[in-house]
């Protein structure tokens, strides 16, 4: 209760750092989205840690939900003989099918335009990861596995996670500080603004979408019917 009494009323807290970032972000870094500027440019190292939190959590989920030795794999529920799964209604299937391509496009747009308008790697990555889910809703699990094999998802996630470090290391190799923004800062308000932020955004987007797709596929695998001995 004492702490509450001492806090200033909502909306009047003064924070010098925030105001400074707001006023300088366009002139110095050529990025119009201040939050992305903070995440990837001013405090880029913290985002590296955050990306690896996500990476390790997906790793943890995979380890925890792994098939143990005493559970032999079986067919997926859709394909068991004599099993009547109610098919999703036609309206749902048409809607999901129609929405898959726009979702992927929208996710890519959000990923690449992180420095212009609200968005960025993480938001776009999550939207991209929801596209396979839509595919699962309108098709069967085997179709999903055909379009999105495990290898592809693993590789994209690894490229994203490693890409962040590689970019930072490249900065060190070129004589700067780790994750220093070395590319020429383009015109603010366009996709080229902010130099290196575009590449980091792509890396994070790949990593997040790959990681969440991995977790999704692992959770879906658990619906495999176990064969009786």
């Amino acid at each position: 209760m004492l702490a509450y009494g001492a806090m200033p009323p909502v909306g009047f807290v003064q924070s010098k750092y925030g105001d400074m970032v707001n006023s300088l972000t366009v002139s110095e870094r050529h990025i119009t989205d201040a939050v992305t500027a903070v995440n990837f440019d001013v405090r880029g190292f913290d985002t590296l840690g955050e990306e690896f939190i996500l990476f390790t959590s997906v790793l943890g989920v995979v380890v925890l939900m792994r098939r143990q030795k005493d559970e032999p794999a079986g067919d997926h529920e859709d394909q068991l003989p004599g099993r009547t799964i109610p098919k999703p209604s036609d309206a749902a299937r048409v809607m999901s099918f129609a929405l898959v391509a726009p979702t992927v496009l929208f996710g890519l747009y959000i990923v690449t335009h992180g420095q212009v308008s609200p968005g960025g790697g993480f938001q776009g990555g999550v939207i991209l990861a929801s596209a396979p889910l839509l595919l699962y809703l309108c098709a069967r699990y085997s179709d999903l596995k055909r379009v999105l094999p495990d290898k592809l998802v693993d590789i994209s996630e690894a490229i994203g996670a490693a890409g962040y470090i590689v970019i930072g290391g490249a900065c060190v190799a070129l004589g700067g500080v780790f994750l220093q923004n070395l590319l020429p800062l383009g015109k603010s308000g366009t996709v080229t603004g902010g130099g290196m932020v575009a590449f980091i955004d792509l890396g994070v987007g790949l990593e997040v979408s790959g990681g969440l797709c991995t977790a999704l596929l692992i959770y879906l695998e658990e619906l495999l019917e176990d064969k009786e001995q």
Binding site: S15, V35, M65, S117
Partner: protein
């Protein structure tokens, strides 16, 4: 009125805590932990907000106009990532506990086999 946001954050924290303590289902407990995490979002959000100022995106408004604090919003993005992480891992743990002990009720999980 000015302190409503802080009050809501405190209320969410307390009711989430109540849910964790009085829960009889592990999955329900995990979601109450999620409610506690959302109380931290509301607190951070209300710290960074300035009355009457727009969002910190400068494509439409001219650069240099005072806007809402962006540092706190970057912190909140990390917070959301952490929430996804925690919930995913706790759910996997709950599923494995159910496999080993056959129950999701925390009151009945008394044995800790070493």
């Amino acid at each position: 009125m000015n302190y409503l946001a802080y009050g809501v954050a405190a209320w969410l924290f307390l009711i989430g805590l109540y849910g964790v303590v009085s829960s009889s289902n592990l999955v329900h407990m995990v979601l109450c932990v999620g409610v506690i995490q959302s109380s931290s979002y509301v607190l951070l959000l209300s710290i960074g907000y300035r009355i009457g100022r727009p969002a910190p995106i400068f494509s439409d408004i001219s650069p240099g106009t005072p806007a809402v604090d962006p540092i706190v919003q970057a912190l909140m993005l990390t917070d959301i990532v952490v929430e996804v992480t925690v919930v995913a891992l706790l759910l996997s743990l709950a599923v494995q506990i159910h496999k080993r002990h056959g129950t999701l009720n925390p009151d009945r999980l008394t044995k800790v086999s070493g």
